[in-house]
């Protein structure tokens, strides 16, 4: 039972690798960061079967590197498209390079990798890690567009690939990752104050939701977007 996790070196990515490993998957952990080696070493020490693939998924060679690892594994049951970057700015100040970089990584790479790996899947589950920002978020025109695009990708593939392959999306809000901890303290405090749950989410909570969607316990769920944001989609 192989699971591919992209963006594996980040906070949510590491939690995904650990949780899917706990569920009995051989995990192919994909990232382009050198941090990936530390993350994989940590998970291996915990006894999980983790295979490291350092790849830039915006390139054909990067996608092929993942496909090669999956071929060697003998089949793919779970794909989690989690890789994502931000280049925040108001639209009127947003440059084309920052616009395209975010679109290519967050949406283009997920799409290209999925198209490549689907022929290797039998009965399987694809989970796209979108973001609560798909509902709109100040200063994130590019990020919001890319994460919204993932919602459309999720719906279209859910229709095309049913019933063998289920496709769903999760849309995390503010999660306690390195990215969130990089936000200035006063800003982060104000953000948390607007969350009815009165805290940031934990990467492990996102991983638990993804593990559920990867599992047969969710076999009647496809084409859905599940927001995991502590109620932030409702508050002022």
């Amino acid at each position: 039972m192989t699971a591919v996790v992209t963006g594996a070196a980040g906070g949510i990515g590491r939690a995904l690798c650990r949780r899917l490993g706990q569920a009995g998957h051989d995990v192919v952990a994909v990232d382009l960061s050198s941090r990936l080696e530390d993350a994989v070493a940590m998970l291996e020490r915990e006894g999980f079967a983790i295979h490291l693939v350092e790849a830039d998924l915006t390139t054909a060679a990067g996608v092929e590197a993942v496909a090669g690892a999956v071929r060697r594994s003998g089949g793919l049951q779970v794909l989690v498209n989690n890789a994502g970057i931000t280049r925040d700015n108001r639209l009127v100040n947003l440059g084309e390079d920052d616009f395209k970089a975010v679109l290519d990584v967050n949406l283009g790479a997920a799409y290209q990798l999925t198209l490549t790996l689907v022929p290797m899947m039998g009965r399987a589950s694809i989970i796209n890690v979108s973001s609560r920002a798909y509902l709109g978020n100040f200063g994130q025109f590019n990020y919001s567009m890319s994460k919204g695009g993932l919602v459309g990708l999720t719906r279209a593939l859910a229709l095309q690939l049913a019933p063998a392959i289920r496709v769903n999306a999760v849309a995390p809000g503010l999660i306690a990752t390195e990215m969130a901890m990089g936000i200035p303290d006063d800003v982060r405090t104000r953000m948390i104050a607007a969350i009815p749950a009165d805290r940031m989410g934990e990467p492990e909570e996102v991983a638990e939701l993804v593990a559920f969607l990867a599992n047969d316990a969710s076999s009647y769920i496809t084409g859905e977007v599940i927001v995991i944001g502590g109620g932030r989609s409702l508050s002022r």
Partner: protein, 146 residues
């Protein structure tokens, strides 16, 4: 008005309202295929035109197909439609204090182009509503939102 529309019939209807409109109407291309380069080109075009319009304090309306929001016509068109919707909501948030509206109109196969044009004109007429998705039809009822 800046009009980006590859459908001659819809373009003609929108053009008839040109004097009433002072912003951007961007109609998602029905012919966008499944290749990533096509999807990226369409979204990049929307980025440039929306940035230009909003930088000049002018409203934006993205026109998409209802079926594409639900992914019924394949991933290429779906990524464009839902990407535009999310981007519109973010742009609306960024420009609400300035009173510049950004909205999305979702048409169906049978929607009269003149109805699309009238709604685009209406949505550019004032400051509000903004950040809205207007469905011109009833196919969306009972289906996923937004």
């Amino acid at each position: 008005m800046t009009l980006r529309c590859h459908s001659p019939r819809l373009a003609a209807s929108l053009d008839a309202w040109r004097d009433e409109m002072t912003g951007l109407v961007f109609v998602a291309d029905d012919k966008t295929g499944e290749g990533w380069s096509e999807v990226a080109a369409e979204l990049t075009d929307a980025f440039h035109l929306a940035k230009q319009s909003l930088s000049n304090g002018l409203a934006v309306v993205f026109v998409v197909h209802s079926d594409d929001l639900l992914g019924r016509n394949g991933p290429g068109k779906a990524m464009v439609a839902t990407g535009l919707l999310s981007a519109a909501r973010t742009a609306a948030l960024e420009h609400r204090k300035a009173g510049v509206a950004v909205n999305v109109v979702a048409r169906e196969e049978a929607t009269d182009p003149s109805l699309v044009a009238r709604w685009c004109g209406f949505l550019m007429d004032g400051e509000l509503p903004t950040g809205q998705l207007i469905h011109l039809g009833s196919e969306h009822i009972g289906k996923a939102l937004p």
